[in-house]
Symmetry: C2
């Protein structure tokens, strides 16, 4: 049983004793205990082994006073069951061996049943939830439809998203079918995580910020909205995240999410002005700033809190995931500095 | 003699018969006549040969009705005379063989005299200016200090700018010395181009958008301001460009520039609201949109003009450079559609 934890209170726009904090990719390579496991296992193997995934999920919670856990997984995981051949190549990132390039490729994509195909993830979630024993809420997540679509089409990471946008412009029917399949998959994938014990769901549409506001509205928003509508109808609280989204924020808010995740390029007061204070906000220290000498980290973190203005609904986080070379001591100091009544970073 | 061309009028916030247009990287690989020359010469060789550079500069002007020429060069060119070993590697982009990593590396950088070291560029500018014969203004340019510094430190393109930001945070004295040397170099480099015939100067701080507003203000703005102060004192009109700068725009405006260049991620009415209508604005069609079927290009280009609202001081452009696979016919149609009184894209 969760004892009214501050992370859930913030997601519901309620007052908290101090600002809750968690870090995207808090289970990751900057932790020595993670690297020790990673040495012996491939990434896909780690995601699919509930014992390993649960252990890795809990590592940062054991190391630091964080206000939320996030299940150890990858946004690309559900694509395999859609028919995508996925590999994580050392030092290169994800590679897709059969990229989606034609209407026929889109037609061939399957929409998997989550209970049947993602049992490993749902088991991990159940185990972590039991282990956490109500002390800290657990976040489940999925990729946003644009972001997943871009990986499927480009075959990996991209700089200019040329193939993705060309499919979008040149074959709008195939684009819409692709986005629709992804939206249907994501809604059921996220709701299955909720049923298994994930208390909040985050949608990472990390690369949607490469779109103009007009293109986002026309080609992405209607599909993303379907996902958040499904979550809301099921009563599952949600976070909607992207990077480089300064001028997409009002449209991301329209698509849905109880909390909107913002990267470091936008001050939180400006972000809140754009989306309205009737939704929460998550962010937004630059992940590279977390690698700076501690006095700079502390100063910039304070500025984030000042911009948020102590308003209910702020979840402190980075503007994107923790980078591998981040000093653990900085992560610890930041997690500890806002807890309790000891420091000036406290908004209690 | 330039007959009061609409590009210069727009830069000076004066009314124009229709919106002037030019394209970043308008001299480039999407043009067959460019590829024919490129096949036979290395990039550095092309930049340094005034005959080739002048010919390539003029190619798009011969092909389309554009309102400005921009000298064929690269923002990294002046780094060689500072002591940087630069190579353009086929398919990979620029590589710097002796990246700047320590205070000693920064100390060793020279600030070159432009007349002595960049004679090839100044000659190209004089030749192009003579050839243009006043019909269309010529733009000279340089890289912004953050962008050039990031290439010098990372040794090439970067995704997260970790080394750059770490030097900035960890060695602020060396960072400031680096930015100062770049600012002094850039001011003299741009002013030498102006003396040789470049009528407008654009500063491409293309990657400054990876910084938070606070970091931009603290670590970049004071240095960039020195460059624009020097240009203003010399009476040289200027354009200040970056990508991903939605919430840096007010600070870029404070740093200087008669026109602020904006990428496609921000609607021009929002951009003008942030910077004030007493400076001009340049942009901002997504370069990938220019690869779309023509009806989509036309619609999005019209939306750009609608957002600009026909207000004096708008220079139509892409939000970044033309991509190599762009269809020439789209570039031509876009350049032609806003000329004269023939089309609804005209704001005369």
């Amino acid at each position: 049983m969760v004892n009214d934890p501050r992370f859930l209170r913030a997601v519901h726009l309620e007052k908290t004793d101090c600002t809750p904090v968690w870090f995207m990719r808090q289970a990751g390579r900057y932790l020595e205990e993670y690297r020790r496991i990673r040495e012996r296992h491939g990434l896909l193997e780690m995601f699919k082994n509930p014992e390993i995934a649960a252990e890795v999920t809990l590592q940062p919670l054991k190391a630091f006073p964080l206000d939320a856990a996030i299940i150890f997984a990858d946004i690309l995981l559900p694509l395999e069951a859609m028919g995508i051949e996925l590999e994580f190549v050392e030092g290169e990132g994800p590679v897709i061996h059969n990229p989606v390039r034609t209407g026929g490729d889109v037609d061939a994509l399957r929409v998997p049943d989550p209970e049947e195909h993602f049992g490993f993830l749902l088991t991990s979630i159940r185990w972590v939830r039991a282990e956490l024993d109500g002390k800290v809420p657990l976040i489940g997540f999925g990729g946003g439809p644009f972001t997943l679509g871009s990986y499927m089409i480009e075959g990996g990471a991209s700089r200019n998203y040329v193939l993705t946008k060309r499919l979008m412009y040149e074959q709008p029917a195939s684009w819409n079918l692709l986005m629709d399949k992804l939206a249907v998959m994501l809604a059921s994938y996220l709701l299955a995580q909720a049923r298994s014990g994930a208390e909040v769901l985050q949608l990472f549409d990390s690369w949607a910020g490469c779109l103009s506001p007009a293109d986002y509205r026309e080609y992405v928003l209607p599909h993303t909205r379907k996902i958040f509508d499904a979550l809301r109808q099921a009563g599952a609280p949600s976070i909607h995240f992207g990077t480089g989204t300064a001028d997409l924020l009002p449209w991301m808010r329209e698509a849905g999410g109880d909390v909107i995740g913002v990267d470091w390029r936008t001050n939180l007061d400006d972000a809140w002005n754009r989306i309205g204070t009737d939704v929460g906000i998550q962010g937004n220290l630059d992940p590279v700033t977390l690698m700076a000498p501690w006095p700079i980290v502390r100063q910039r973190a304070r500025e984030v809190l000042d911009r948020a203005g102590g308003q209910p609904g702020h979840v402190f986080n980075l503007g994107h995931g923790i980078l591998p070379a981040t000093p653990v001591d900085n992560v610890r100091a930041l997690a500890e500095s806002r807890i309790g009544n000891l420091t000036s970073m406290n908004h209690g």
